[in-house]
């Protein structure tokens, strides 16, 4: 699962790294499914983060209002 601190930048960097490896044919069949899983996680992480409300952030913002 996505780490606490993972940012969009890190996620896309990781995805791009995997993509680059694939394009350079540096990716083994052995690694393939792990890497694909990883990409899937990263995509899901980004989507969640983008579309779903993070309660922590909401809370911080609310505290600020007071």
């Amino acid at each position: 699962m996505a780490q606490k601190k993972q940012t969009y930048n890190q996620a896309i960097a990781e995805i791009e790294e995997i993509l680059e490896k694939m394009e350079n044919e540096e990716l083994d069949v052995d690694e393939l499914s792990d890497k694909v899983k990883r990409v899937s996680e990263l995509v899901r992480f980004c989507r969640n983060k983008l579309k779903n409300t993070e309660e922590e952030v909401e809370k911080v913002l609310k505290e600020m209002e007071e």
Binding site: I12, V39, V43, V60
Partner: protein, 467 residues
């Protein structure tokens, strides 16, 4: 007391008379607008001031007014030319007529305004601000900050009452991608004299919560009013430039970019544009991620398919390879085997010939040997036939010779030739010295003998006797 006094009215009449005499009509005056307000009827009342360049102290002040009818015209002309709201803080070149009224006192009636003076002044001020920021090395600071791919947590510096703000919020919240934006307003006065200070304070407040936000959005809420002076101010620009988060501006200017726009990380024309920018950027990110994931998915599938093909190719290709290898080996072995009978029979044939040759040679050599010996023997035999005959004939010759020699010495032969032998007393007389006359001698001839007496003896010379 007791002094003659005139009434205020009289005094003011006098002042009015002096001023009228001074003919202070249609004079172009440079001044700064200290204050400006418009009353219900549309007349505009201003405070014109002049400040000391060095200490900002007010050197001069005068009230002025523009008649409502004139004001509407001048204002539109000025604002459309300069892009600035005619208001406090601006330096203006105005055509005035000095008027003194007994009730209101001194007032300058503005009949015309030259916007180009104000524009020159503003431009100069802006240049000064920019130069100062540059000298301080902060001009590009905010621009150098990386804009995150998704700006989701937004600190908004704006006026809460402004329509622009509300539109901005609505636009963000209703984005078509369903992206959740977090935003918090840091209220600030966006126009007027307090604006500069208020904006700077708002940025300070954002700074206190800097960890929460991705970026600061500076948007101006004012609808038609275009009071942008504060955005050219040094302090606002200074705050923006040095702010550790990227600042996006949507101030809504028509003509030149404000200093705030120039130092901001990203400047857009309107709050709407800023909202659209933020939405598109996040949306793009979502799209990029999806696309990359899709490419990766395709590549992963391709890779698997390729590897499958490769494996299957190996699986099918090495079977014939192995069979071919075995065939090759079998062929090689059979070729080797094929060489065997030929080389054996050749070898055997050679040996057989060799033995045959030896046999023949023995036959020839043995025969020759016997033949040679026979020939030698024949030669010996021939020698034997000749040699004894030769010897015998030689001996015969030799004997003949010896016989002849002997025969030559036979005395009988001498007698036959006429020689004779004389004996005395049986002894052969070889010389006359032993013979004396009277001796009887016997003389022999080949066919008989004579007896006689010696009558005389004659002796010859010795020389003659040698024969």
């Amino acid at each position: 007391m007791g002094q003659e006094a005139i009434t205020l009215f009289q005094l003011n009449q006098k002042i009015k008379g002096v001023l009228d005499d001074a003919m202070l009509h249609s004079i172009w005056v440079k001044a700064e607008i200290g204050e400006l307000r418009v009353n219900r009827t549309g007349h505009c009342y201003l405070d014109l001031i002049e400040k000391d360049e060095t200490n900002d102290q007010i050197n001069a002040r005068s009230r002025a007014m523009i008649w409502a009818q004139n004001y509407r015209m001048l204002k539109a002309y000025f604002e459309s030319t300069t892009g600035q709201v005619l208001g406090a803080g601006l330096k203006v070149l105005v055509k005035v007529t000095v008027q003194f009224q007994e009730v209101f006192g001194l007032s300058l009636i503005i009949s015309d305004i030259d916007p180009s003076y104000t524009m020159g002044d503003l431009a100069r001020k802006r240049r000064e601000v920019l130069m100062r920021l540059e000298e301080e090395g902060v001009l590009e600071m905010n621009k150098e900050l990386d804009l995150p791919p998704v700006i989701q947590k937004i600190a908004i510096v704006s006026s809460p009452t402004a329509a622009g703000y509300g539109d901005f919020i609505n636009q963000l919240d209703a984005n078509p991608y369903g992206i959740k934006f977090y935003h918090h307003l840091f209220p600030a006065v966006m126009q007027g004299e307090r604006a500069e200070q208020s904006i700077a304070e708002a940025f300070d407040s954002v700074f206190e919560h800097i960890g929460v936000f991705d970026a600061v959005v500076l948007i101006r809420g004012g609808g038609a009013t275009i009071d942008l002076l504060c955005f050219d101010s040094y302090w606002v620009a200074y705050h923006i430039a040095q702010f550790p988060l990227p600042v996006l501006t949507g101030i809504g200017h028509e003509r030149d970019e404000s200093v705030a726009d120039l130092v901001a990380n990203t400047s857009l024309k309107t709050p709407t544009a800023v909202a659209a920018f933020l939405i598109e950027r996040a949306g793009d990110f979502l799209t990029i991620i999806d696309e990359k994931a899709k490419i990766i998915a395709e590549m992963a599938r391709d890779l698997i398919q390729e590897e499958k093909q490769r494996t299957e190719q190996i699986a099918t290709s090495y079977v014939p390879g192995v069979k071919l290898d075995l065939q090759r080996r079998t062929g090689r072995l059979e070729r080797l085997i094929g060489r065997l009978p030929l080389s054996v029979s050749r070898r055997m044939g050679e040996e057989s010939n060799r033995v045959m040759r030896m046999k023949d040679k023995i036959f020839d050599t043995g025969g020759q040997l016997v033949k040679d010996r026979k020939a030698a023997l024949l030669r010996y035999q021939q020698s034997l036939l000749l040699l004894p005959k030769h010897k015998l004939s030689e001996e015969k010759r030799r004997i003949g010779y010896l016989e002849n020699t002997s025969r030559l010495n036979d005395p009988d032969n001498l007698l036959k030739k006429g020689y004779s032998l004389t004996y005395l007393d049986g002894n052969l007389v070889k010389n006359v010295s032993g013979v004396k006359p009277g001796d009887i001698v016997n003389t022999r001839f080949y066919d008989g003998e004579l007896l006689g007496k010696v009558e005389m003896v004659k002796k010859k010379n010795k020389n003659q006797n040698k024969k």
